[in-house]
Subunit: 333 residues, 4 copies
């Protein structure tokens, strides 16, 4: 079970998310080294996770088995090609570039280098979406007749960010377009038509000639229609949900509700079958919590005394069951 050491380029918001995951939560990937054009920030992230900092991207590549690129969009293509040509597999945040020719050239350079490249469309790795995709691909929906997805941010980004974002559809809608291809394309075929509408509910966006709300109608090769709606400021929260309607069943992914499957006359969602399904993180967390006690000298949350108190209560329950009488308990004996 060898782990793969990643060199991480970029320590902005997404970079720091990746740093924390590589250093603490990944099972196969691990953090090997950190680089950022802002050397101080790189050093701080490296120190936080106890890994070396690289002073140049070339040094990062040198010290890593694979490279994760989470820098500003403008350098994605160049760093990806550099790493690939040095023989390093590359994970790159989307988009590769805001320019089609550069995107194609990057892909071709990576292909020529013969290393794998993965782009950061994270939604394909969420358990709910992945489960839905697998069941759709397996034919459980029959033929897809309608598709709907919403991706909405809670609050708009900094206007400075917008200038280099590539525009609303390239920055936001692209996630749903990838999902449409992956989730629905498997059974409904390629997307053949796109019709888009935009609006700026916030005058700040209108002033920039930009939009903050969009609707995109899709047509798939099998004739089915799809609708994407996107917003930069839904206000109530971050929305990322979908519905796929098929001739045999309909599925809805609408966290925090469980994934729902609809068949004639009924909506159903799966139930946990055992403690591992019900508690996917509690067993990891209890060991990490205790490891922190060991490392930092803090007291555990549940001691032997707690176990004794619970045992005494369980014994009282046993006695009550046997005698049919209420048992009075005195804790902390």
């Amino acid at each position: 079970m060898r782990r793969v050491g990643f060199g991480l380029a970029g320590t902005g918001r997404m970079g720091r998310v990746h740093a924390g995951n590589l250093a603490g939560r990944c099972a196969v990937a691990e953090l090997a080294c950190v680089y950022d054009a802002d050397g101080e920030r790189a050093a701080a992230v490296a120190a936080e996770h106890g890994v070396p900092v690289a002073t140049t991207f070339a040094e990062l590549v040198e010290r890593s088995e694979a490279v994760a690129v989470a820098t500003p969009t403008g350098s994605h293509a160049e760093l990806t090609v550099t790493a690939a040509q040095a023989g390093r597999p590359v994970f790159c945040e989307k988009p590769l570039s805001l320019d089609r020719a550069t995107t194609v050239a990057t892909i071709e350079a990576v292909e020529a280098a013969g290393v794998p490249l993965q782009v950061g469309f994270h939604r394909r790795f969420d358990p709910d979406w992945a489960a839905a995709a697998a069941r759709i691909a397996a034919g459980e929906l029959g033929e897809v007749t309608y598709f709907r997805t919403s991706l909405r941010d809670m609050t708009p980004p900094d206007p400075n960010f917008l200038a280099g974002s590539g525009g609303f559809f390239v920055d936001v809608t692209v996630h749903d377009l990838d999902v449409a291809r992956w989730l629905v394309g498997a059974v409904a075929g390629d997307i053949t038509e796109v019709t888009a509408h935009g609006a700026a509910s916030d005058p700040a966006f209108a002033a920039l000639g930009d939009i903050d709300t969009a609707v995109c109608v899709l047509r798939f090769a099998n004739g089915a229609l799809g609708v994407i709606d996107n917003s930069r400021s839904a206000r109530y929260g971050y929305e990322c949900s979908t519905e796929v309607v098929g001739t045999l069943a309909t599925v809805r992914v609408e966290a925090p509700r469980p994934v729902e499957w609809r068949t004639p006359g009924q909506a159903a969602y799966p139930l946990a079958r055992d403690f591992e399904e019900r508690y996917p993180t509690a067993y990891t967390a209890e060991l990490d919590a205790f490891a922190r006690c060991v490392r930092d000298g803090t007291p555990p949350l549940i001691t032997g005394r707690d176990a004794l108190a619970a045992f005494d209560l369980a014994s009282a329950a046993t006695e009550s069951w046997r005698t049919g009488m209420t048992v009075t308990v005195k804790e902390n004996t």
Copy 2:
């Protein structure tokens, strides 16, 4: 961010859960060594995770900074004391012992050794339960007036297991009793009375003089009532839920539904505010998936070509928005 190396004793079901977490998902704890009285099973688990196997418990203790005990109940107390007396912090699955005197002696021996001991009541580390506990302790419920919890297995355990389980209340109800102390005791005080009722819906349990369903009524120091119901065979799934009613608010933990807070005239549940809250595991999973590609030579799930196709669709959407016309797309260009 030093990790703490755990020696794991026991490779039954819970032991293997811990092995997988220590080896792959923990951020602070890590797997250092494995031991089991069944040496072959220990070797297999050790090999799976690339760590050494210990042939004796003493060797495990020697090679570890802390020890996790997940052996059959009968050896919990002895192994805990042995490890503690060797200066190792101990994480032990519940119960420490089925015998009160042994439980007390174990606790006292660990205290004399001056090392921390944590017992495996995992529910305290689930995000939903922990959030509820924190808000209750902070007074958000006001005074607690009623408490209810259900712990139900989907299917009954092997009858062979039952003989050494300590009985229904010590084996099953003890989890809810610990939760009652932790979740409610903080504001309602100690549990002062216990009244228990049992039933055997399955004749196999009745034949053993045992029960498979129980109700346990609690009284807290503040006078509030609590009800625990437990079952070894709920059939529909694994249930682990609670409701705590207070003078200011009521909370329900009923996965897979989100935690619900009730105040006069309204029930509410929290919404994700950004992609990190909404996708707590997708960003870890995408890096692990790519690490597996790197390690094993398999192709990535999302390539540059996928990114290009999504980019082309986003460009078509931009064009449609600008022109007000439907744009025909040809994929795979």
Copy 3:
């Protein structure tokens, strides 16, 4: 489809609920006459619904085909017997009496009179509960192994009411006890044991020697356990919910959520199949709304002009679909 004319005795809160239903919403029953010891209040209710007022109970009986008794508890038995002996079928709010001997005497007098008597346990007539009861009786749950129900008021009643209420269990728990017999007794047999616990979270109840929270554990003839919890002040709202666990399925009635059926690994709830199921009251309400316009001379909510505007928009949609172009609309043409 002859309607049955009811004489209503009692115009307190429940009496006025019945008056409104008999006068406006019942399909087979109708309001024939109203009586109350408080003649002014009776006259007001009678006038509101356009029916005669009776100055004595004897007159009410005389002018009615059946009698509904919604007076204070103390007069239930006497009025019921009087009406029955005059040959009138009687609907009586619960309880018949707070005294067992009087209850039995009342039942025997009604039986001797040969008229039907129905007591007001309304929950048996709620669609959710009735559907669950029918499916349980039909065997869809298999054998019942556990039953749980909650009845909780939002805010406590006036202390003056409590004095004549018969006590917590007779006033509140009796509803759940009836439901337990009806919903579960059909397959689990009679209730053979009762164990009750009470608490007064509000000092005002303790001062009266009364309780405001109770837990009642039941044992059914088949050995299954049941738990009732009741409260006079749940604060967040009025709770009336249940769960029945069986060997084949489990049902939960927890409005405002739809009734949920759980089978191994899955929870499901029914979906509406057509507009009548989806809109059980809208078609009635639209006709009543228009009847009010006719009667009172107020304008309708939806006029022909609204219909024309929607028609024009639908025509624009048709044109857009045919041409593939966006159609600009000018309302109010």
Copy 4:
């Protein structure tokens, strides 16, 4: 509280729905007379509800205070005008006509006659939709930025029906267009643009040159976008749901779930506050059930004996609470 007597023209599916409501569930409207071109069917419906049958529409008008038109679409306009010119207020199912000129002429004739006309857009009278509309109109959403609604039938209509339906958008989408004007138009202004897309997932519809699925994108005067999706065969059930996103809050109407209000970081739904809110139909149903017993001689569902049994159990609970002991009960004493 005078009732308004309606003459009902048309006894097809919608006509029979109206007949049942007018005869049994309306509080202000009542059924006065029935007419249908198919005299036998009219006679059967009239007999079922105990009202006279009219042999001509003129006779129906003569015997009614108001007229409800639920005949096939082709005769809506003519009957509406005839009734209006006879001075009768008219409730007419949608559409008034499939022809714009006839629609306008009908409206003008009714206006000239000076009687009120209401068209059958029932959704405005559903409690969930009406509550959402009222709160939106009151400004609780702030400015509307996005609107989405779905209307989907479970199974397609008979092809014979389609020929005279006016086409998909006039027959189906028109409901959502009315709702868009009512629900959203109040704050977002008139609909200024419509873009529609259609698909035929079922070859039978394609063969007729018709569609069975459609998406309609709206633009409101304030710039906000809206999306309607419609289907003639969603298969899983009848869907009629909406979401309106505003700058202050977002509302979702998605029965059978309760209406949900979203504000920053939270989703909430209202809870019942008392038994009347929780049981809107049970109190009516219990009286109608008893009225049927009286009328038809069948036994009541809940007798005095049931009340006695529940009383005995409540008394046992009281005794158990007082003594702290389990009480054994013997039913049917």
